[in-house]
């Protein structure tokens, strides 16, 4: 009686026990990977969205169950970086962070991100990355800390509309990029044209030449263009007073001639783009290639989008200054793996899976960024983009920011000087003194020369 009652129970128990290994095999490990991207919507959204496209592929390849958390918005770079720094400090950072390559300097020194040299050889996808980009992915210790996500160039945009108001013929306008590239049309010439435009009332005073309204990488090409260097042969930061003074004098002169008046300083990015993109108010504007994609979709869409831009806006290298050679700056963004990540191998597998011509083309073509893979540059889709075809050769003239841990302090000090001169608060000489003082106070071990 008793045995009969216990028997079914035993059978059921046995069944459950025998199924246990099977169910364990069926229930795959769930791995959560959090990825943080900054994007100007909608053109740059593939920075994070590409990961969703390859989720199943990576799940199948690794035999795991992925829980992808994509966090993407258009936060200001300063806030965005601060968010990562504070979360990394607390050991709770996302697994993959997309940021500018120059952050590798400070973040690798702080231990917020991990070196990837040992992991990279496991993924053949990375072999095709344009070799020069790897240089900008290295930390001060020589190790690689990032995987290139995109690249760009920073051109000088000019308004064809306003140049023709100034009496330039279509041929002259179309020839301008070539004249700048050959070094014939220099920054001094650009300021002459801008001054003429202000004097003749083609643009309002202060709207002859605009650059970005807040600090950023752009300003370094002025300094490079004046013959300045940021790193010495030992990799230590230097500040060339001579080059910086020339930059400040150039900007001071631009202010004195009415080309700039500080009206572009501190305004909101959307207002900046709204003012510049239609080509009706600002003659020359220094920007990035990605502005093209942003403008076409977000600022002149109602006037005909990219077609309107081709008609009314041109772009060229930054004209030559002291060195006699035109210039631009490339600021590759990189996916970095945080030291808070529990699964760096899975993170790398995901990054590898989107480091393909198809995935990167989705991002590059829509957002007017330059490609990062050799195969991509040769792909028909990439070559079919007129803008990228014209922008890509700018890389021959490109420069980079340094990956130095104290780069932030250097850049802030230099920007302080630029802002002071352009708002008319200080003369170029006084601004230089302020910057030198600040650098000596804030950057230990810097060489001022």
């Amino acid at each position: 009686m008793q045995a009969r009652r216990i028997l079914p129970l035993l059978l059921v128990t046995a069944l459950i026990l025998s199924l246990a290994p099977l169910s364990a095999a069926l229930a795959q490990e769930t791995v959560t990977i959090r990825i943080r991207c900054k994007s100007t919507p909608p053109t740059e959204d593939w920075r994070c969205n590409n990961f969703a496209e390859v989720e199943e592929e990576v799940e199948a390849a690794l035999g795991i169950d992925l829980n992808l958390v994509l966090i993407q918005d258009n936060a200001a770079w300063g806030d965005y970086k601060q968010e990562f720094q504070l979360s990394a400090e607390a050991g709770q950072a996302v697994d993959i962070i997309l940021s500018g390559h120059e952050d590798i300097g400070a973040w690798s020194a702080a231990g917020f991100i991990i070196p990837l040299d040992d992991l990279i050889p496991n993924y053949p996808e990375f072999e095709d990355v344009v070799p020069s980009l790897w240089e900008s992915m290295k930390g001060p210790d020589g190790k690689i800390y990032g995987i290139p996500q995109d690249a760009e160039a920073r051109p000088m945009y000019f308004s064809k509309l306003l140049l023709s108001d100034l009496g330039w013929s279509d041929e002259e306008i179309e020839a301008l990029p070539e004249r700048i590239a050959s070094g014939e049309f220099t920054m001094a010439d650009l300021f002459d044209v801008a001054e003429q435009a202000v004097e003749e009332g083609v643009v309002e005073e202060g709207y002859g030449f605009w650059h970005r309204p807040v600090n950023g990488g752009d300003f370094l090409y002025f300094y490079y263009g004046m013959g300045g260097e940021v790193l010495d042969e030992n990799g230590a930061l230097v500040f060339d007073q001579d080059a910086a003074l020339k930059v400040f004098q150039m900007l001071e002169e631009a202010r004195n001639r009415g080309i700039m008046n500080g009206s572009h300083l501190g305004i909101e990015w959307p207002d900046w783009h709204t003012t510049v993109a239609p080509g009706e108010r600002v003659l020359f504007a220094a920007g990035g290639t990605w502005f093209w994609g942003d403008w076409a979709v977000n600022y002149v869409a109602d006037r005909g989008g990219e077609e309107y831009l081709w008609e009314n806006i041109g772009f060229a290298l930054i004209p030559a200054m002291e060195t006699g050679r035109p210039i631009t700056l490339t600021h590759p963004l990189a996916y970095m793996v945080s030291s808070s990540s529990q699964h760096p191998d899975v993170a790398m597998a995901l990054i590898a899976a989107i480091t393909t011509p198809e995935a990167n083309n989705r991002h590059a073509i829509g957002s007017a960024h330059l490609g990062i893979l050799n195969a991509q540059l040769e792909s028909p889709d990439y070559q079919a983009s007129e803008f990228l075809a014209k922008a890509h050769p700018m890389l021959d003239f490109t420069t980079f920011l340094p990956n130095h841990p104290s780069w932030g302090a250097w850049s802030e000090a230099y920007w302080t000087g630029i802002e002071a001169v352009e708002s008319g608060e200080l003369t170029a000489e006084a601004a230089l003194a302020v910057v030198v003082d600040r650098l000596q106070n804030e950057v230990p071990g810097i060489t001022i020369r």
């Binding site: 601060q82 020194a109 850049s411």
Partner: protein
């Protein structure tokens, strides 16, 4: 003396019974004290958690050079890096990168050629916001709204609370839209309608708007305190002044304002200290600009140095040194205010049943 002795003698005479009475009263005192501390505990714990411990932390951080580049959370390692003592010469030796840098940060801070400007900005900002809005306007609003129809008064006061209950980011966003350059800014659109030339408010008048933005929020605090104080003035006093034939202004000058002395002092004290450390609206509105620290205040500098750099190098140690200065100023001012305004009298039991 004589009294004390006689108590002791009485106790001695009463013997065991007296000892029991003493023990009971001691227990009662103890219990009363415990109850008092019990009531103080929630506030005390908060002050310890959110003032004393952070203060000790920034005091410690301010003597280190902790930044992104030498980041660590290991306090023991930070201390050890500098405090190895050579037992033979009995001197500190360092063979690891030092975290403890003594007063270097403070030296750097005082060498910074903008420190005096930023300090002056801070005083200017605190004084103007306090005088014109947090006390001045608050007093005007509460006097006006208590002298009109009660419901209308309530309505206007509710309006003035709006800036305070609006999210700071949204509130400042609205202001930025108001003062933005032409053709985006609302003020400039009015300028255009009126045929006036456009004004770059951000570049030309940053202080006006920094103080307006903060003042519109700050006014409501004083307004609430003053209004409740005015409304709790016994009607007899006001009626008596009416009977004596006083005008509205005389009544305000000779009856209401003298009775507002304590609320006024409280608002001045409290708001000075809170303005001294507030920077979020300035950060959002001007970021300390335009140009060379035109509207940068001390607490914003502390924030910028410690946390906010565009190219990713936060100097926690240096920023903390700025914060320490604020703690010192704050504590000193609190003591000065409490002494100068005789806060002991404020919290003393009232001698008569007024207020």
């Amino acid at each position: 003396m004589a009294n004390q002795r006689s108590v002791v003698q009485d106790a001695g005479l009463a013997g065991e019974q007296g000892t029991a009475v003493l023990a009971r009263s001691r227990r009662r005192t103890l219990r009363a004290q415990l109850t008092a501390y019990g009531f103080l505990a929630p506030a005390g714990i908060l002050v310890i958690l959110f003032f004393f411990i952070p203060m000790l932390l920034i005091l410690f951080l301010s003597i280190t050079n902790l930044s992104t580049t030498n980041f660590t959370t290991d306090i023991v390692r930070m201390l050890r890096s500098d405090l190895d003592i050579d037992l033979v010469s009995f001197r500190f030796v360092t063979d690891q990168p030092a975290y403890i840098v003594g007063f270097d940060n403070f030296e750097r801070m005082f060498r910074d050629e903008f420190a005096p400007k930023i300090l002056f900005n801070t005083l200017f900002y605190v004084f103007c916001t306090l005088a014109f809005f947090n006390v001045g306007l608050a007093l005007v609003i509460s006097l006006l709204t208590t002298h009109i129809d009660r419901r209308a008064g309530f309505f206007f006061r509710a309006l003035w609370i709006l800036p305070r209950i609006t999210s700071p980011a949204v509130y400042v966003l609205m202001w930025r839209r108001i003062i933005a350059a032409a053709p985006f800014g609302i003020l400039n659109q009015f300028n255009e309608l009126a045929g006036r030339s456009e004004v770059n408010y951000y570049q030309d008048h940053p202080w006006v708007f920094v103080i307006l933005v903060n003042g519109f929020i700050g006014a409501s605090f004083g307004m609430i305190i003053f209004t409740s104080a005015i409304e709790s003035i016994p009607k007899d006093l006001l009626n008596a002044s009416l009977v004596d034939g006083s005008s509205v202004f005389q009544r305000i000058r000779y009856v209401i304002l003298p009775l507002l002395r304590w609320p006024l002092l409280f608002v001045v004290t409290y708001q000075t200290l809170s303005l001294l450390t507030s920077f979020e609206y300035i950060l959002l509105l001007t970021g300390g600009g335009p140009g060379l620290y035109q509207t940068e205040v001390w607490s914003l500098t502390a924030y910028n140095r410690a946390l906010n750099t565009y190219f990713a190098n936060a100097q926690w140690g240096y920023g903390s040194a700025f914060a320490v200065v604020l703690v010192i100023i704050g504590v000193v001012m609190a003591i000065v205010y409490m002494r100068a305004f005789r806060f002991n009298e404020l919290v003393a039991e009232p001698k008569i049943e007024v207020l």
